[in-house]
Subunit: 317 residues, 2 copies
């Protein structure tokens, strides 16, 4: 029988891991992905129309690791109406030498949510403005919370403005995040984010652009982590056109189903704008000029799932 | 927590299922696949060089089912040297409406092995000669055993000849299968199969053709179920050229990584030779003439995994 680990045990196992170790784990997920050290086949996807949901299967292995990992994560967007969490999933850890199932991490999507938020923090650390004046958050769901929490370990800024469609959800977000030590304003106008924030994180499964180019400040980093399936899009394409650098977690994934997917297909982007996060971190070519506008397009990569799973296994030992 | 079911419980749950019900389940796997009732994305694959192994992720859902299923199966060919089974895996059953993980079937590859053998029996039932004179088996491993066992429910023939590379393994096969009621000869010459059998099943992960066209009898059905990954090939391409009908479990899979993959790429096959098993069964166009030589190319389809998983869940209730 494989080791079967439930969510509470996973959370407990990671509780003693330092923010630095978590960030280092995610940095390695970017660099190992881009260096070719990792074998990562195309993402498997299942899409459901009614109720709306999507399932991602991300998998692969690092040469030198004893494991290969298959991660399944789902988002079913009507679940909260039923009192259920929207995201779900599990991580399966197998032995590379025999194919034996070593461990089932029944994280219910927790590890995917965590590594996604950590990836946002890594990107902010390497590509963000030197001094963050205000953090703009698009969306009020779980990832809008986790991204902000993880940003606390890479910036001293605690000034936040959140945009959402529901006044009620924005207020809940404000209350929850003020308990965590942030000072949060709410707005129904997305231009309030572009005009006052130099670090913006978009976290929704929107299929139409939410964040306009209007008022966008020089030096801003926009981390777009919502779009991870064909059809999802959070940014006005003019933002992508204007960006000095578009940092992609995975070139192949982003071009096929990330934030840049449509703009790339429409021929709006220049090849010279694009590079992979892992390559940029490895070579130290992250932010060239203070005034550069940078977009990070994060679709989520299997190396994140592999390395966070290994971290849990190590912590459990 | 999802329901977690171990291999012994799965075997127990299926023990009372009739051969007819098992065959019907697999017939439906073919017809639902070809009718479009099933959503089946491309198979996910991981390949390891040393030790040699491959992992398949097959997944999807049937419209009308409460479930979607993700099946992971591996073959690590040096495992027997370590005293471990070569095949391994598990089936994950999720709810279509919420993405919740309903059940983990820790079948260790048993369900994949079983449904693969059942698929062979279904094909023999529908495409085999009216009277099987002798069954030829290429290979001496687990699937060589299971295929023969399952054939017992669709033919009265118990005369068998087996070809393998190892005299020792052939002898073990002979002993094991005679206990199951078959009369088994062994041979080191594959032409002994083509010259005396009108039902031949090839079950190896060979990368070079093992079964020659020499002596092939009119009316023969050859079920090629070993090739399921690019590079695997068991039949002399001349057999495929000569075949009156090549029945494919999945056209897209067979063309990409089945037995016909290379012959198709080399332009040796006619479009008119090819059809999907499910379409042929549904329309009753299985064996046109007694003398037809038919090849069934089975790569294994996700609907088999979905339906056998549902059968286990129903049996457990």
């Amino acid at each position: 029988m494989p080791q079967i680990v439930d969510k509470a045990t996973i959370i407990q196992a990671l509780a003693d891991t330092s923010p630095e170790a978590l960030l280092a784990c995610m940095e390695r997920s970017f660099t190992s992905y881009s260096s070719g050290e990792a074998t990562v086949p195309p993402v498997g996807t299942l899409t459901f129309e009614q109720p709306p949901g999507d399932v991602h299967i991300k998998y692969g292995y690092l040469s030198g690791s004893p494991y290969y990992v298959i991660k399944i994560a789902s988002g079913f967007y009507d679940n909260p109406l039923l009192g259920l969490p929207g995201s779900n999933g599990l991580n399966l850890v197998f032995l590379q030498k025999t194919g034996e199932l070593a461990c089932i991490l029944l994280d219910e999507g927790y590890l995917t949510d965590l590594r996604t938020a950590l990836a946002g923090a890594v990107v902010a650390k390497h590509f963000g403005p030197e001094k963050v004046d205000r953090i703009g958050i698009v969306g009020t769901g779980l990832q809008a919370r986790l991204q902000l929490e993880q940003l606390a370990s890479v910036t001293k800024c605690r000034e936040v403005i959140v945009w959402g469609r529901s006044a009620e959800k924005m207020e809940a977000y404000r209350v929850d995040m003020e308990i965590k030590g942030f000072k949060v304003s709410t707005t129904a106008k997305a231009t309030d984010l572009t005009a006052t924030c130099n670090l913006i994180v978009t976290t929704t499964p929107s299929k139409t652009p939410l964040l306009p180019v209007t008022g966008l400040l020089p030096g801003t980093l926009i981390t777009a982590m919502g779009a991870d399936t064909i059809g999802k899009q959070e940014l006005d394409p003019a933002i992508l056109e204007r960006a000095d650098l578009i940092a992609l977690d995975s070139r192949s994934q982003c071009i096929h189903h990330g934030e840049i997917h449509k703009a790339w297909a429409d021929g709006l982007l220049q090849e010279s704008q694009l590079a992979e996060v892992g390559d940029l971190i490895s070579s130290g070519r992250t932010r060239a000029r203070p005034e550069d506008i940078i977009v990070a397009d994060l679709t989520g990569i299997a190396t994140q799932d592999m390395l966070i799973s290994e971290l849990v296994l190590d912590s459990l030992k």
